[in-house]
Structures are given as C-alpha cells and as structure tokens.
Symmetry: C2
C-alpha cells in the first residue's frame, strides 16, 4: 500500500520550527508523510525537524526549489554549477531528515515563476541544455547514491518549464542519464495539461517512477475537479507502484474577479475536514484498484 | 448548426496577404470561418482581406492581442487608455472585415507571455482592477455596439492572466459591465485547467456565450487528448449555443527533451488530413448531441 502525504505549503511557507506541531495534526488527518520544500540554509533546524517527525510518526519526502541562479539547464557556468551543488545540498538535507527521495523540477529553467516569457530555442541550444542536464544529474546522482537518496526529475506544465514537460521527454533524459539514483516523479496537475492520457503516461514511466503527486486539475482538493482518479489509480496499480503519493491541494476556492490563481496564498479557513477526506479519497481509490477484476 | 473555424496561427504568424490563398484551403478542409488575430495597423490590407474571404466563402472572427502597454487592468493611466483605444480599434477592424465578434483576454494583465511572475495583489488593487475593466469595457462596448460588433471577454489559465481565469469570475465581471455588446467566450484549453467541470461552466455561461474555442487539453488536435468532447458538446447543446466554434490545434507533436511547448512554432509538415478530421470531429460531435435521448 502506498503512503499518502501532504505538502507543507498547505499550511505555511516558509515552514519552520513553529509549524512542527502541525506534523501531529497531519498524522491525525490520515497522512503518512509530509512533503517538505528543501529548506534553505538556516531556514530549519534539521535535527529538530527529524525529531519532530519521529515524534509524530510521520515520514518525509523533499521537494527541490530551483531558480535561474541554480539551474542545471543554464548556459551560464556559475548557474549550472550552482544547480549541481544545490542538488547535492538537497540530498544532504534529505539524509539529515531521513528522507530517501528529493523530487522536483531538477532540470531547472523555470519560466513563469522566474518572470520569463516563452522564447524560441535553437537546436544547438536545445541539445546543449540536454547535455548540461545529463552531466549535472550524473554528478548529483553519484552524490545522492552515496547517501541512499534518489533524485526524481519532474516534468512541469509548459508555463512553468521550457525544458521538461512530458513523461516522454523525461524518459528520453533518464535514458541518457542512466543512473540508478536518478529517477522520475509525476504530478497529475501538470500531466492533465500536457499528456494525451495520464494513465498511458504512468504506464510509460513504469518502474522508473519513485514519487507521485495526486493533484486535481485546478489544484483544489482531489475529487472536486475533473481528473479521472479511477483511471489514474488503476494505472499506478498496473505498474505496481508502491512509492509515496503526496497531495498539494493549495489552490483556495476563491473565484472573485482578479484573485491571481497562480499566486500561493495561505489557508483562510480550517481545511481539516477536506484534508482528511482527501487522504481517504486517494487511499480508497488505491485500495479498490485491487478489486477491479 | 454552429459554424466551425480555424485560427490563422495554425499556418502562419503574422498572417498577411501572401497567406490569403489559405482561405480557400481552409474551406476545402471543412471550415466555415477563419479566426484572425486583430491585425496591427499596416499589417494587413483589410479591404483586400475582406474580398479574399468573400472569394473563399469564409466567415471571420477576430482575436484581440493585449499586452502590458494596452491593458484595461493597468493602474497606469496611459496603458489603461491604450487598452480601451485598442478595443475600439479592434471593433473597427471587425467592422471593416465583416466580423461581428472580437474575442480574447480583453481584460489584459498578461502574465507569462509578458514575462511577469505571479505576484500577490492587495484587496484595494484587486477591486481597482475590476473597476478599470468595467469602465473600459463599457466605453469600448458602446463603440462596438455602434458598429454591430460584440466584444467577448475570455478567461485564460492562471499562468496567462492574473485577473480572469474562470467562468464564474467572468460572470461577476459581465454582471458589473451590464452591456449588450460585451459578452463571453470560452476556450476548453484554459477551462480544462481551471474549471471544476467544463460542462457545468458552459451551463453557467448560458446565453452570455457568443464564441467558443474547442481546444484539446494539450492544444493538439481534438480527439488526441483527454477532453471529454461528448460532455462538452452536450453542454453547448443544452444552453442552445448557436455561435461559432473555432479550433487552435497549434501545439505540434514534438516530445523531444527541451522543446518549449508554450512557444508558438510554425507547422513542420502538412497537417491537412488532421485538420479536416478535426473539423469533422467537432462537427459530428455537435450533430450527434441532437440524438442523445
């Protein structure tokens, strides 16, 4: 049975020591692990965090945060190097916290959140970006492997990344990286936008999938949108996926004109009932895939 | 029966006199109208274009292009004014071409394509943006009405606009504008990302809907993705929608690592067979809604 997790951003960003009591709350709501953003240096006492997680009986997965200054894809040597160093640092944080997976858009080149507009790319530059990602992931993968940590690259939608958007693109990259500590994570929010079929993409990923984010098409609570969750969970079952499944339902239901949906906002009311139902929703879907035939 | 159209960008951008022979090609492929981007001043001879459309027996709908310098939502008075003047200009172009609808993100505030990152907005500024959009749409609506043209506001996904993303938000704005020449258009590409249910959103729009874009979740050819077209077309039938339906399947099928999907690219092969099938796909779905009970 897969473990079910919740992103820390559901409650707060940045997530610091004052928020550690929320670990017990997550556990009560039915979550097995928390997905933490990789803390910036000095943002979180990792030893205290690990103890707080243990106290709450909660596991942990890490989500990497890239930007243009730490960017595997960058043609700027310093940014490329900082991108590699950041992944090593993220693996160190994982080891310190007891996490075995660091996922996220590790290939870099953030688009809308870095204030970049889509631009054409020459074939030479496209291939160079790939080469830089391959080299960087091999080096960071070696470091992660030594710590028992797996790096999981994540395709994002076309507006958040201009290098990696689909499972097929990720498979091409992983084949070139060819490293046991470099694997794949998928997020249904992005897949819903970019894949011809979410379930076919999951089957394509197969045994390379090590982390999964079950997000609704609009990033609200699962079951409140149009994702075909039965189809998604059957595909996970078909590839015998046993890894973590985390939820990030942090788009608040606020349809007033002019509220910017892509901008993260803290919760404005108690979401406990919906969060508990969301964990049960995904868990029950996964359970029932066993009995479909 | 709804008329079925194709966006000019499917072939070329900018679309100029040299491309007018494509009008006859579109007609042959099964399209009733072309959706043209509102030409910038001097970009297209409108009289010649109108004659070419008539020769081909093709109708026309216009798609407005906003930017930060012509932006109804802007707090900068000059940009706000330029936003209003642009909508009047677009209505003039429509009248010159024989179009009766100008659609698009008329409320402005482009995000990713203007290189803007999502930012928080104060409640005061949110309400000011709404007020500016209402005033601008009323003024431009008066001008359009005098020409027999309707302006259709379009909700975009969260990464393309930070003012108008859902049908509910649009309904709130239209209620405030309260103008017969200001109505709504919807695009399933954006709806797929932002709406809890595309068909419920169409039913919410009801009689205010004057233009519709039938785009696949990944902007490829309809029927090649995960949109539930039967559900979409039944909803259009239920609200008795008789207006135009246009297609914009301009994401080319190219899953090589590092190809930026949000960047428009020209066709790299003959797409005629798929374009003809796409027109027939939507037309047949619409036809069969009549016979579902």
């Amino acid at each position: 049975m897969n473990s079910i997790g919740l992103i820390s951003m559901q409650y707060a960003r940045p997530f610091a020591a004052e928020h550690f009591p929320l670990f017990a709350r997550m556990k009560e709501l039915g979550y097995d692990f928390v997905e933490l953003l990789v803390p910036e240096p000095g943002e979180m006492d990792l030893t205290a965090a690990r103890a707080a997680l243990a106290d709450a009986g909660l596991g942990v997965v890490l989500a990497a945060r890239v930007n243009l200054q730490r960017n595997l894809s960058s043609e700027d040597a310093a940014s490329h190097r900082a991108g590699i160093d950041y992944l090593k640092y993220a693996a160190d944080c994982a080891a310190a916290l007891g996490a075995t997976v660091v996922g996220g858009p590790l290939t870099g080149n953030p688009l809308v959140f870095a204030g970049r507009a889509p631009q054409p790319v020459s074939e030479t530059e496209r291939l160079s970006r790939k080469q830089r990602c391959v080299a960087g992931l091999k080096e960071a993968g070696d470091h992660a492997a030594g710590l028992g940590v797996t790096l999981a690259i994540e395709p994002l939608n076309r507006f958040e990344s201009d290098v990696l958007c689909t499972t097929q693109q990720a498979m091409e990259l992983l084949q070139a990286v060819d490293h046991l500590a470099v694997r794949l994570m998928l997020d249904t929010f992005h897949m819903h936008m970019e894949e011809a079929s979410i379930s076919e993409a999951i089957r394509l990923a197969g045994s390379l999938l090590v982390h999964f984010q079950a997000n609704e098409n609009h990033r609200g609570f699962p079951g409140t949108g149009s994702t075909d969750w039965v189809d998604v969970c059957r595909a996970l079952h078909d590839i015998d996926y046993r890894g973590p499944i985390s939820l990030e339902p942090f788009r608040r239901n606020d349809d007033r004109f002019g509220v910017p949906f892509a901008q993260w906002r803290p919760p404005h009311e108690d979401e406990s009932e919906r969060l508990a139902a969301s964990a049960a929703f995904i868990r029950s879907h996964i359970s029932l895939t066993e009995f479909r035939r």
